[in-house]
Symmetry: C2
Subunit: 157 residues, 2 copies
Amino acid sequence: MTETRDLDPEEWELWGAWTRAQRLLAQELDRALQREFGISKAEFSVLMTLWRAAGPELRVGELSESLGWEKSRVSHQLTRMEKRGFVARTESGAHGRRTGIKLTAEGRSAVQSAIIGHAGNIRRHFFDTLTPRQADAIRAWSEQTIERIESHGDVSA
Amino acid sequence: MTETRDLDPEEWELWGAWTRAQRLLAQELDRALQREFGISKAEFSVLMTLWRAAGPELRVGELSESLGWEKSRVSHQLTRMEKRGFVARTESGAHGRRTGIKLTAEGRSAVQSAIIGHAGNIRRHFFDTLTPRQADAIRAWSEQTIERIESHGDVSA
DNA sequence: CGCCTAGAGTTGATGCGTCAACTGCGTGAG
DNA sequence: CTCACGCAGTTGACGCATCAACTCTAGGCG
């Protein structure tokens, strides 16, 4: 059902460089976020999503959908963030079911201070280093890849 | 010391698509490796490095260097893999100091069976989806990025 | 010799991420 | 009504990844 030969050394090298570059960049951004604002990338993503959301609160499923994360990952993340005081699970279900997720004041202030700084880091480490052609290639590749994997079998969302 | 404005929505979108695509691809490959050969990407990397290495065994520092991983990460990974029987820490130091890392027979057979399959997955999910221009752009970007981050302050290796 | 320091490697704590198993509510078939 | 099933969310176990603190050995120097 698939190619049965090894990659060329040149291909392994490109593959290695690509994955290494990604990892270095992600690491760099994550460390900067941690150092400058005391939050992790995962926390930032959640805060940002709640911040940008239309309504005052979201359900786990909506967060999961919009982040593209598995529900269980979201749930674990929320548990950690609830402990840190960034979000609250609110009672919005029929009985005492805690199904709504809201930013706390602390959460709001954390995103607000982090967002500009983080955007700047992304700009410096990513956008500023890209030629327009590279940007186009990356955009095209990303879209292809998302399309190909997401709409093809296991959705995981 | 940095830009002080937010990213454009369009930029956030590209950033989001790119990180999502990376994650989906990595996840897909990792799952395939797990499903088809019962090993993780991290295990594969270590096995592969030992397999391709010149000598019969490596030191932790050499593994760390060649994988681009922190020593402590390598050490933890080796502990898990030793438990699984893929590698052995051998006595090569002065006294009974266990400083050499070797593949076991089981480790060798695991890489051998995984390597072709994994290469095929990478081909199908990555190389086959790339136009030559995209491949060039990705190569260039990866090299720039590695160069820029690695030789600029914190080496982390 | 006895101590000090530097480097290699390990360990523990903790956060991230996935999988599988579970809970609990709602709904439709009988 | 009640049972079965499904869907939303949670939990526990475990592997991956990083940081800080530790151990051990070797080598230098009084």
